[in-house]
Assembly symmetry: C2
Homo-oligomer: 192 residues x 2
């Protein structure tokens, strides 16, 4: 918020300012914080603000994995710094039960070590053990690491702050390949 307010007050004094955010600034990132600040100061509504869309982690991960987001999907931040854990838990269960492919942002950090394991347990109560799960870490960086597994075997310690965790729906399919990561994809057609 300090960064957003600082940028807006510079802009109000006539400067051209950019607020930089990794991924897509509009997805769990700085754009929302900037508009929260705009709402607080009437004069900032006059500013000429442009949001530039980017490629958020879930889409970068999906492209590496195949096409797991070919069907209805949702994105949930596991951080309970910004909302109560009960809300996170309710959304996880509702999304899994309704057949959404689920992307988990902010799955794990040093200060938030139990949330991802708890999320897997909640999902295991709704989805089959064979549900496809992928961990995509540090995408597009030299340390990039991608792992695919199943909900039954999903190990929360594979995730850190730079990881996007993707949970398939019952429709998500896995195509094994010799000597390479499997492809994951979700067919566009379902249940007809």
């Amino acid at each position: 918020m300090t960064r957003a307010r600082h940028a807006l007050s510079l802009a109000a004094r006539g400067r051209r300012v950019a607020v930089v955010s990794s991924g897509d600034a509009g997805v769990f990132a700085m754009a929302s914080t900037v508009f929260e600040a705009v709402e607080q100061e009437r004069e900032w509504r006059q500013l000429d603000i442009e949001v530039i869309a980017g490629v958020s982690a879930m889409f970068a991960a999906a492209a590496r994995l195949g096409a797991p987001l070919g069907q209805d999907f949702c994105a949930i931040s596991l951080s309970d710094n910004l909302k109560p854990w009960d809300v996170v838990a309710e959304r996880l269960v509702a999304a899994a039960a309704a057949g959404f492919v689920i992307a988990l942002y902010n799955p794990r950090s040093r200060a938030r070590s139990w949330q991802l394991g708890e999320a897997f347990d909640l999902l295991r109560a709704t989805l089959p053990p064979s549900t496809e799960v992928a961990f995509a870490t540090a995408l597009s960086l030299p340390q990039e690491k991608i792992a695919t597994t199943t909900l039954e075997k999903a190990d929360p310690t594979l995730a850190d702050m730079r990881t996007l965790v993707l949970i398939g729906s019952v429709m998500t399919r896995r195509i094994d390949r010799p000597g390479a990561l499997p492809w994951l994809y979700t067919p566009r057609r379902s249940g007809l």
Copy 2:
């Protein structure tokens, strides 16, 4: 599917082939169809396939509107060509009840004229009348058109095949501006 199979069979004969899709090929688009075809022919698993992420309509729309996707969100295709309407209806209600911001793809076409009106009615049973709604049509084209309204007043005939419809959550806020479209944003913090 014919296009995907044609591309893969050319690639299997050693050609370099690109399958082009508007928005993000991974989101309700051609990438999923390509992998469905890959699964059908064992030799196609050997092909060197790269999916390139793009900016899907919901993120282009979100950037124009402010930051409505700053919190947990989902994407639902309203097309019941590819899945039964019951599944669409169940996902709409589950997503609204759980507090997701909702992006609707394929809201309306000449052959599918009633689905969006029915979707609004389902959402009105769960969300307040004042819920923010936006119609974003033909984004980035010369005919681009954006309209914001509320769930109470949302008129399905504002949508066509090129429209992305965005439904806020109860947290989504509107910042009115003189002589310009209002900003819509969803604060990252909720209910703490």
